[in-house]
């Protein structure tokens, strides 16, 4: 534990009163999977949209022994991910890592790591808009009633309209799913490629929306069913390419523009997984040669 942490910050930045409030909300969220628990979100030393909800959830469940990984759309080396990692290094004195396998607490913006998670890990999502029905019904009073009555017809109509307009369900991220057979929830703007990883995960998944002041959770081994129709089943889509760096054909890819003549490449969005694949490829090559 560095002297800086001891002298200048309470452990993990937040005061104890705030942490107790968030912790009570987290327990309720875990007890009612997919239900959005209101909480008194605090101002954090970073702008809304940079993961203030995720940071508060992480801070409330962090222990000094945690190894913390932060990813932003799969990448460990973006400004957002680096800032949050530094924040916890400084305020909680925790060890940080980029390796998914080594991490005990992973905060993520818009991706689930490719490496399957284990029972010893907690995945914390940064959530911009927690209410899956918000763009269909702007009134909180109405969406709350719809959740209370399990009235999710509007969401199915939306998916149906996708099909009638585009011939398929065009929703490609923040794809709505039903948790524990009861609450329809927004898994944050992860690509729908990641939706199957929500289901029956051995890891505890926590969601924090700072601006919207909501916390929700998916406990381990919980049924998460992406909404679909019998004749239009859910498809976890990805770009039909190989990763230009590691050659992977089963990962979620980012499209990167590389010149001003229409040149482009597809690379894994999960930087840690891609690096590991490249190392494995290099070793295999060396062994073969």
């Amino acid at each position: 534990m560095s002297a800086l942490v001891r002298e200048h910050y309470n452990f993990a930045y937040l005061d104890e009163h705030t942490k107790r409030m968030i912790r009570r909300a987290l327990l309720k969220g875990v007890a009612i999977p997919g239900y959005q628990v209101p909480f008194a979100s605090r101002e954090m030393p970073m702008p809304y949209g940079w993961g203030t909800g995720g940071v508060q959830v992480s801070a409330a469940c962090m222990v000094p022994e945690d190894r913390v990984k932060v990813i932003d759309q799969g990448a460990d080396d973006t400004t957002n991910a680096i800032s949050i990692r530094k924040f916890f290094e400084r305020t909680a004195g925790v060890t940080v890592t980029e390796r998914t396998k080594e991490a005990t607490l992973i905060q993520t913006r818009h991706r689930i790591p490719e490496q399957p998670l284990s029972e010893d890990q907690i995945l914390v999502y940064q959530v911009p808009i927690p209410e899956p029905l918000r763009f269909l019904e702007p009134r909180e009073t109405e969406t709350r009633k719809m959740h209370a009555l399990s009235e999710y017809g509007l969401m199915h109509v939306k998916l149906y309209e996708d099909i009638s307009q585009h011939g398929e369900i065009a929703t490609s991220y923040a794809y709505p799913a039903e948790v524990n057979g009861r609450h329809v929830f927004d898994p944050s703007p992860i690509p729908k490629f990641d939706n199957p990883k929500l289901d029956n995960s051995p890891a505890l998944q926590l969601f924090g929306a700072g601006r919207e002041q909501r916390i929700y959770a998916v406990p381990p081994y919980t049924r998460v069913r992406s909404l679909d129709f019998e004749d239009y089943p859910f498809v976890a889509a990805r770009a039909e390419h190989r990763c230009a760096l590691c050659g992977s054909t089963h990962t979620y890819l980012d499209e990167v523009i590389i010149d001003d003549e229409g040149g482009r490449m597809f690379v894994c969005s999960d930087t840690d997984y891609c690096n590991e694949q490249q190392r494995a490829n290099a070793e295999a090559e060396r062994d073969a040669g």
């Binding site: 104890e16 009570r24 327990l27 239900y35 009861r182 406990p219």
Partner: protein, 223 residues
Amino acid sequence: MSKALNAPPTSAPSATTPTAFPAASPTTSPTASLDALSGGFADASFDSAHAFRTLLDVMARPGLIGRLMQAKAPAPASPSLATALLTLCDGTTPLFLAPSHATPALKDWIAFHMGAPLTADPAEAVFAVGSWDSLGGIERFAVGSDDYPDRSTTVLVETDWLANEGLRLTGPGIATSAFLNLPQSWLPALQSNHALYPQGVDCFFCCEEAIAALPRSTRVEAG
């Protein structure tokens, strides 16, 4: 960090609520006040962080038995119960003490360490503490509303024994099934609580340093 910094704000005084400092209470003996002052977290932020991680773990994996021993409260409160209270309760969480735990010493300890207002109305309690029989049935407590199922009571039940045998648990957090040695006679209450899902109360079971949880989402059957 000094104790004074951690002292909770004084709750609104009432006939049943002792104010924050036990010396003000006429029922307090000198030994009781010593008990009331000791047994808190040695290091509030670290101890509560470790304790909460255990609470989160057991709530997320019903049937899992965790260990909590960071705090000690006067009898009959076990260390796991004391630690859970100290981690979760403060002046904003009305607390219901069943007769089994409504002792002056424990009330003083709660008043000094967390300042949680005591309530005699089970439906108003955010947390409830006691032995199963003394609590008088978990159906007395708040189960939340249709709109806000989270506005429910969390019940901390002191038990004599915790082991992974007996009643069979299935549901979120459980890969196949888990077992917890709760008495068969509790089964109807636990089942009707689950039937209210997403409403209902969530339970912690405390026994010495051991703690396990049973959220409303868990289906309970005879083992």
